[in-house]
């Protein structure tokens, strides 16, 4: 029913494989463009977090570091919650 509604509204099928294709493309292009493998990207994230943790406590469970495409440029975007009361030395 929802699907029919989507179709009538011209929204296409949200669960169709085109959506998967787009996500897979976006994933593969980040690594193509930066010449950075998924493992290296993970290392990069871990190192960033390790450096920051030397100065302030961070809430590791809610960290979000990702590469975002803006036009044809890539941005490393980090959302790192600092837990204020728990400052390390």
């Amino acid at each position: 029913m929802n699907q029919l509604l989507d179709r009538l509204m011209g929204r296409g099928n949200a669960s169709g494989s085109a959506k998967i294709a787009k996500e897979r493309l976006q994933f593969v292009l980040v690594h193509d463009r930066l010449d950075l493998s998924p493992e290296k990207l993970k290392e990069l994230k871990d190192e960033i977090l390790a450096v920051i943790s030397k100065y302030v406590a961070i809430d590791r469970n809610n960290v979000e570091i990702s590469i975002e495409q803006r036009k044809r440029d890539n941005w490393l975007v980090a959302d790192i919650p600092l837990t204020p009361d728990d400052k390390k030395d």
């Binding site: 179709r7 011209g10 296409g12 085109a18 787009k22 493309l25 292009l29 193509d32 044809r72």
Partner: protein
């Protein structure tokens, strides 16, 4: 300066570079422009058959480069479109028979006399691609709405940017509108979103393309062909006209959403 040199490329093979080159050349000639189409796919020549000129070849691009004939002698005038000429590729040589600077020289000799010089690039990112791109003022990147083709297009855009020829303009070819509507094929919005370059044409997957290649008469010359219409629109946009993107299936609502999308967030229809 005169002519604008427009190279048609893609990275991946079989996506419609030769089809696009032939059709846009014909459509430009129909607009009264003086056009030379150069087949830079040495060893795999095809632009001649798509344009229906295969039985008129005497000399080719490599003959010109190696001095066996004058440039003029290798230019085949199209009978149906007297403002259109073809310089065919050599069939029995390879890409190393021509250099990027040869391509610059040849186009330089033609610039004064013509309005547009279109270059059909081979697949790949090696010598043949560099030959085709070296003289380009503008690059058209042809892609299909499909993962590997879009990935290769992205790579090409990256290479063009590195050579300061980029980012190029996008032609999305072989769109199956029914599949797009069912969410089973990347939409034009998806592809433009991912590649983030200016769109210059959307061409439907259309049987008339095969039929016209059987006969050697590009679909752009057929007023009933939807693909032909899409290629004519590209030619008009290249000539500086603002042409709204056409509906691929006659659906107004889709068309309007499509135009709204592109006029809003990309660069306007045209």
């Amino acid at each position: 300066m005169g002519a604008r040199v427009i190279t048609v490329t893609s990275g991946k093979g079989g996506v419609g570079k030769t089809t696009a080159t032939a059709n846009i050349s014909v459509a430009l000639a129909q607009l009264g422009k003086k056009v030379v189409a150069i087949d830079a796919d040495i060893g795999l020549r095809n632009l001649d058959v798509i344009l229906g000129l295969e039985n008129r070849i005497v000399y080719d691009l490599v003959d010109v480069v190696e001095g066996r004939c004058k440039l003029r002698q290798a230019m085949i005038k199209h009978k149906a479109y007297p403002d259109l000429y073809l310089i065919p590729a050599a069939q029995t040589r390879d890409k190393t028979a021509v250099s990027p600077s040869d391509m610059v020289d040849i186009t330089q000799q033609l610039r004064d006399e013509f309005d547009f010089i279109l270059i059909d690039s081979p697949a790949g990112i090696e010598r043949g691609f560099r030959n085709a791109v070296a003289p380009a003022d503008d690059v058209l990147i042809v892609t299909n709405p499909e993962v590997s083709s879009v990935r290769d297009a992205d790579r090409i855009i990256g290479l063009l940017e590195a050579e300061e020829k980029g980012p190029g303009k996008l032609v999305i070819n072989r769109v199956k509108i029914g599949m797009v509507r069912r969410g089973e094929m990347l939409s034009m919005e998806d592809v433009v979103d991912i590649l983030a370059i200016k769109l210059i044409g959307v061409v439907p997957d259309d049987e008339s393309v095969l039929l016209s290649s059987n006969r050697g008469e590009p679909a752009a010359g057929d007023l009933n062909s939807k693909a032909g219409q899409a290629f004519r629109n590209i030619a008009r946009r290249l000539s500086g006209e603002e042409v709204p993107f056409m509906s691929l299936d006659g659906s107004e609502s889709f068309f309007q959403r499509f135009v709204r999308f592109f006029s809003g967030s990309v660069s306007g229809p045209g």
